[in-house]
Amino acid sequence: MRFRRLILTFIIIVPLLTLLAYGFFRDPRYIPSPIVGRPAPQFTLTLFNGEKLNLADLRGKVVFVNFWASWCPPCLAEAKELEGTWRELKDRDVVFVGVQIQDTEKNGRAFVDEFKITYPNGFDATSKIAIDYGVWGIPESFFIDPDGRITYKHVGGLGPTIVAAKIGEAKQKIVSAKEGKGEYQPIR
């Protein structure tokens, strides 16, 4: 009788405690993305140099899309390293695209000039592209394989090691099971 009561108590209390612990340990701002493994939403971005970049034209190449803003500290932290990685990889069927969101174009141009960024960058004034990609934090990066499918999403700052590794996986069309997470800021 006593044993049965103990078991009953555990059956009730343990799931409740587990639920509580889950609530405490998860990041309440984190929104799991449903678009990893799916075709990347198409977009046309007007670049700072006036040219238009159409994602569909990049089919057959690995595309690295990075959403950023000049006011976001992790974006400042990763800018130099992303440019360095781009210079290393640009001749290997890889395209980097920077999409500036929730900012002013003037600040965006100053940011690109300051970090001497040479890969294509443009301003998404209405955040339409960002919403299409389900962006909620900043920076957020997406890796798109040559078939135009998203293979990996990373919320937060990225280092050259992860970028190179995930570009390698995208080339082989390997979809990551989990999203990556680094230091990030919620967008405004």
């Binding site: 009561r5 955040s127 919403i131 389900g134 909620w136 919620p186």
Partner: protein, 553 residues
Amino acid sequence: MQTVNFKLQNHRTTGNFNFCIFHFSLCNATTTLVLLLSLWALSAIAAAAQPDLEEQTRAIAAELRCPVCQNLSVADSPSELAQQMRALVQEQLQEGKSPEEIKKFFVSKYGDWVLLAPPKKGFSLLLWVLPYTAAFLGLVFVVFVTRRWVRRKQEVTPAAAAGTPEPGQSQRDFLLGEQARLDTELKEIEFDFQAGKLSEGDYDGLRRNLEAQAAAVGKRLDATPVFPPRSATARAPEKKDSAAGARPNKRWQLAAGGLFLLLFGLTLGVLLTKSLRPRASQDSITGDFLTGTPSGGGADALLAQGRAAFEQGNWSQAIETFKKVLASDPNQPEAHAYMGLILAQAGHLDGALTAFDRALAAAPNLSMALWGKGMVLYQTGGDPAEARRLLQKVSGLMPPGPEKEEVDKTIAQIAQGGNVKTPTAKPAPPSAQSAPAAGEKIEGVVDLDPKLKSKIDGQAVLFIIARSTSGAGGPPLAVKRIASPKFPVAYSLSAQDVMMQGTPFSGKVFLSARLDKDGNPTTKEPGNLAGDYKKNPVDVGSKKIDIVLEAAR
């Protein structure tokens, strides 16, 4: 010199229509325009003409969770992303997408997470079912525990009332029997406890109770003579009756307890469901009695109160009421329009224009605001073309009748172009229809500090302000507005410039001047210039009251 009297003269209520009669007397044309306007009817027409796109956008946005906020809907969030999401919802509605398609779009980007009410399928179904299941199980548990508790008490209670021997039984025999029974019960519960049928807490409680009863029985046994008096058994039947009477009482308590729990659960369920509904556009952002601060009778009731105060000419109450409406809904067009009418009435034409603009931003076809803005523009002569356009729009929205004819007459007058007032002239109170007495003015010159001459903005507006010496914090007594002034500016402040009609312009006043960059005296921009008269206060009637604008404040 042209003067225009802009005065709210009379209000009548006829059936459902509230007519306001505005009286315009134009001295140069000696025309008196009596304009009857049905404000109530106009606002109703405007409401009917409003597209429901905004409402639809709101309804969909209210069901979407803002990705960058903590439990705020896209409709309620002031964040940049939420604004952009609202714009996207509106765009998709205009493209002809259904609300379901739009929600599906956002779910495909952010997952089910983006829906404020999770879908009733899969794992999310648990969220809907679990609270009700838990509530039901809890209720069953409470009923079960209460019943057991009551039963146990009932089992113990008759024994506790020991001392009631059966008829024909001696008190001593009865007490001996009780002692034996309590002994057996003590042994039984000990056995139950050892066997694990009773928890330690229950066992302790029962044991203490039985031991106390046994002690009481022992005490009475000691005090009972071996041969009891004959009358000792006479009271037994009554006592038994009262013990039996206690049982239905307990049942009633149990039933009442159960009923209370049921009602509590139902009320909680109903209130929770209500508090989780999406916020309607007329609801306060801080919620209602269920979800936050009380709204004090709702926006509609407040608006009605404001209208009533307005019609009675109770300006201060009307202002307070419309302010309350605007506090709960900063974009309520009708409240803005009424504020505009009140401000125009008080002579704050700039403030009135701002209020009408706000009303029109929220409801572009609100006739009251269109009419008010048109009349203010017409009256100040600021923009006759725009005044005419606005009044034509009002005329288009009005049903045929005397009100429409009056509006059309005004349009015709604007088209003739003869009755436009100079920008500096102010609406005059009724007492000032004739020229003000010589003693009722203050004259002088406003000039600039020579160092600041280069900093002057050509679009700036000069305000010459007279404040009462008694109340420091209240509104100014009189204000003169001079657009694009050329310094030095000669001015004359008279009873015509008094802000509240009927207030005498006499005695001592504090005089100051202010050069406002955006022409709105209620905002303070960097670069505004200001200056007080050095020898304040001034007697009304004084001349050569010169003010130098020197300090940017």
